[in-house]
């Protein structure tokens, strides 16, 4: 899908805020119900993009906090929604939401910490939940959660780092597990992980930066790995990774901005994965966050490691290192 003459070329922030504010209010919407299995992340995406646009107050804080409380299980882990099972992915999303709302103590923090710690394996990796799926995404979820709670010291850091580094590939990138192919989403998780754990010097920034800047296609958009289509969410995964390793200037910013703006839907508000497609909150957050990283002054500065507003992290006192 390519941008046409009629693609948007200005940022329609008010429309996006209206879109997110209304999303989920129709609880009988088909797509909404079918995505219940990731509801906690969906709420995090919506709240974060609203906060970045200065519109957080339009969301229902009390309802969301009660919802999160109802999702913490006895083991300490947090699920995507009521009746669903706990998982690291949704534990992180919940902690991020509560950080935005400065209400971390509505849940049992010690139990969350125990839950995360309990998921670390012998080789330093992290399982997503008790069923044992291993993925560097979960290494990121674990350290990001603990960092937000100020409890990084409970895990075996050396082993955790060792595992992530064992996932580094010939092209400087990272995959899900040792031997897995490099992918921008995993690269974001691993560079974010290495930033939080103070190990960014282990990255070959020039090599990885080259691989990442080669994600930019003639349309200006970014793909997630070679020979794939561009997608607005890679404006986040790729761009944030480049920012973390100090190579964001290797992207053609103007062309990327045009691509992201073309992914807006003027009618409904929100962003789609590429111009002309249907919008959703996931792509809306990453489109706006990407624009923030590119320096758009109408949007609050976003932290490239946590994908949260910088002012929230300053309040918490978290300033993970970036390479320059």
């Amino acid at each position: 899908m390519t941008a046409t003459l009629f693609s948007p070329n200005t940022l329609l922030l008010d429309k996006h805020a209206d879109y997110i504010a209304a999303y989920g209010s129709k609880k009988d919407d088909y797509e909404y119900t079918l995505s219940e299995y990731l509801r906690m992340s969906g709420i995090y995406w919506g709240l974060t993009v609203m906060d970045l646009m200065g519109q957080l107050s339009r969301m229902n804080r009390e309802e969301i906090i009660e919802f999160i409380k109802s999702c913490q299980h006895d083991c300490g882990g947090i699920s995507a929604s009521t009746g669903h099972d706990p998982h690291l992915l949704y534990t992180l999303s919940a902690v991020q939401i509560l950080s935005l709302y400065d209400s971390i103590n509505v849940i049992d923090v010690d139990k969350v910490v125990d839950y995360v710690k309990g998921l670390q394996q012998e080789d330093g990796s992290f399982a997503g939940d008790k069923w044992g799926e291993i993925d560097t995404r979960f290494s990121f979820c674990a350290v990001a959660t603990l960092a937000l709670l100020g409890k990084l010291d409970v895990i075996n850091m050396d082993k955790a780092v060792g595992f992530v580094l064992s996932c580094m590939n010939f092209d400087g990138g990272f995959g899900c597990r040792p031997g897995s192919e490099s992918h921008a989403g995993q690269i974001y998780c691993c560079t974010g992980f290495l930033s939080i754990t103070g190990q960014l010097h282990q990255v070959n920034a020039d090599l990885l930066g080259w691989w990442l800047c080669e994600r930019q296609l003639p349309s200006g958009g970014l793909n997630g790995r070679p020979e794939k289509l561009p997608d607005v969410c890679y404006s986040w995964w790729v761009l944030a990774s480049l920012k973390i390793i100090g190579r964001i200037h290797w992207i053609d910013k103007a062309k990327l901005r045009s691509f992201i703006l073309a992914c807006q839907d003027e009618e409904t508000g929100g962003f789609a994965d590429r111009p002309g497609d249907m919008v959703d909150p996931f792509h809306t957050l990453f489109g706006v966050a990407g624009l923030s990283l590119l320096g758009d002054e109408q949007i609050k500065p976003v932290n490239p490691v946590f994908c949260m507003p910088e002012d929230v992290l300053q309040r918490i006192g978290l300033q993970p290192d970036l390479l320059n």
Binding site: Y37, L38, D171, G179, S180, K228, D252, A272
Partner: protein
């Protein structure tokens, strides 16, 4: 993120079509909610029976990302295991594999599906790895880039003991037949070090793969990009083949202060650094050049007073870096106040792979072929960049002019990446200047008017006393600038420098010229500057806002 949220084209439709769609969705939603509620109710009641399997089957077929349902299914299966004989358990899980395969047909990229299959194989009394490998073959023939399938294949290969050779041959087949084969090249890069490892850990070698095999890999990737010069995967792989390893760059010793400085080509931790003086291991405390650097490319230590202060004594120093089984020797001669160790051989190792005669002739042939390809495809950026890398591998100084010309062309044919090419070109110019310095045995580093956009290899400039970076496009003097422990004079006029953080604590710095930059003046920056130069004997600072006047601190 939901897989369903990708690639959904927005289609305009009439009011009637919209109404039909709405009714359809309402129906589907009702069915889904009803099934979901039934399942979750059963689970809450602790029921682990066939009905649970049926209900979850119905839902998971079209909602494989509903992870909690896979969890429930596993609980049911585990419970049923306790009630059945071994051969029934085998059947139970084989049936499960059929179900998962049906789900994979609908959605071959569901994390939940693939993980569940992996789990089932841990419960099967007799897993059939041949069948599993066959599934992978079929799945990859439909989509050679499905990383879920590749990851699952790695699990199967490990569990069933399929040989590395066999898997290498598999990649040969795929690379030969497919256009989009990055996943295969990647797999190859992980298999080679297992099958053809580098004999012994050796600082001279850039790869964990032995040279004989590397040379074969040049041919393989060369054939790929000659068949299709736009097959970027092969070009990425090729670049990896030309890579190099990190090591100790330089050791510098000074009788004054009895200080030893060690520079590395990348930031390291001081653990594992050992200093031996005249055969005696020394107890020293290493410190980095900038307090912010916990992992530093340069480490300093002070020897016990009197160790090397007497000019009439000759000394031999060795720095051991135990992590990489490598070391550097440095001799401090009678009558010499200082010494450093770097020789041209060392430099060439740093900036390119150590070249055997065989490898050198192979690379020469590669360069010729690429030049021929460039004549046919003058706009091919992969070819241009690869030619530059080959020239650097063979003779960086001899090819300097051509390299600069190719970078110019690169920026024209691939303008989106021009800042990358500018930085890379700066890096190569710096490398060349360092190489030239060594041949001339001077301590002056001069790179003015070269369109430099970035600084690097500062670890190589440990003993430099004069630096001229004027008339470039530098934006800052980065923290690593603090490595330049011997620097006395810095000229950096006519750049775009905003940030002077790198000037922190350069012990020998006497003269700084920074006319025509973009340094922002505030009380804070003046204080910072004052603190930078505190402890330095006398300073003469030429400050932009004071034009040609000289500004003294202290």
């Amino acid at each position: 993120m939901p897989l369903g949220w990708h690639g959904r084209v927005k289609i305009k439709s009439t009011a009637q079509q919209e109404e039909e769609k709405r009714k359809e969705k309402e129906k589907k939603l009702k069915a889904f909610v009803s099934a979901r509620d039934a399942v979750l109710k059963k689970r809450s009641a602790g029921e682990h029976d066939e009905e649970a399997l049926q209900l979850t089957r119905q839902l998971l077929s079209s909602n494989p990302d509903f992870a909690t349902l896979w969890n429930y299914r596993r609980e049911v299966l585990l419970h049923l295991e306790t009630l059945r004989e071994k051969d029934e358990v085998q059947k139970l899980y084989e049936s499960e594999l059929h179900f998962i395969e049906a789900c994979l047909k609908v959605n071959p990229k569901s994390y939940g599906c693939w993980h569940h299959r992996t789990w089932v194989n841990t419960r099967l009394p007799q897993p059939d790895w041949t069948r599993e490998l066959g599934l992978c073959d079929r799945c990859l023939s439909l989509d050679e880039r499905n990383f879920h399938c590749w990851d699952y294949r790695r699990v199967v290969v490990k569990a069933s003991g399929v040989s590395v050779e066999q898997e290498l041959q598999f990649t040969d087949r795929l690379i030969g037949s497919n256009f989009s084969n990055y996943s295969s090249w990647h797999y190859r890069s992980t298999l080679l070090p297992q099958l053809h490892p580098q004999p012994a850990p050796d600082s001279f070698h850039s790869h964990r793969v032995c040279e004989e095999q590397l040379l074969k890999e040049y041919e393989l990737s060369h054939n790929a990009f000659f068949t299709d010069p736009n097959d970027q995967s092969a070009w990425f792989y090729y670049r990896w083949l030309l890579g190099r390893e990190e090591m100790i760059s330089c050791v510098y010793v000074s009788r004054e202060g009895e200080r030893v400085s060690v520079a590395f080509s990348k930031p390291v931790h001081s653990e594992g650094l050992m200093l031996v003086l005249d055969g005696q291991p020394q107890q020293v405390e290493w410190r980095s050049t900038h307090p912010r650097l916990r992992h530093s490319p340069v480490w300093l230590c002070d020897l016990p007073p009197g160790s090397i202060s007497d000019m009439s004594n000759e000394h031999n120093l060795t720095i051991h870096w135990t992590e990489k089984h490598t070391h550097r020797d440095c001799a401090l001669y009678t009558g010499c106040a200082e010494s450093w160790c770097r020789d041209s051989a060392t430099n060439l190792e740093l900036f390119r792979s150590e070249l055997s005669v065989e490898k050198s002739s192979v690379l020469q042939a590669e360069l010729q072929s690429c030049n021929q390809l460039l004549e046919l495809e003058p706009q091919n950026k992969w070819c241009l960049l690869t030619i530059i890398l080959l020239m650097r591998a063979l003779d960086p100084l001899g090819h300097e002019k051509e390299t600069l010309a190719h970078f110019q062309t690169l920026k024209e044919v691939d303008p989106m990446r021009s800042t990358y090419y500018s930085d890379l070109c700066s890096k190569f110019l710096i490398e060349n200047t360092i190489l030239k310095m060594e041949y001339a045995e001077v301590r002056v580093f001069s790179l003015s008017n070269k369109n430099l956009t970035t600084l690097c290899h500062l670890d190589q400039l440990l003993f430099v006393t004069h630096i001229n970076l004027s008339s470039n496009q530098l934006l800052r003097l980065p923290p690593h600038f603090a490595m330049l422990q011997c620097l006395e004079v810095l000229e950096a006029d006519d750049n775009a420098i905003e940030n002077l953080e790198g000037l922190y604590h350069l012990p020998k710095l006497e003269e700084v010229s920074l006319r025509n930059n973009r340094i922002l003046f505030s009380k804070k920056s003046k204080c910072f500057i004052r603190n930078c130069f505190s402890g330095v004997k006398s300073q003469c600072l030429v400050w932009p806002c004071f034009k040609d006047s000289v500004f003294f601190i202290n």
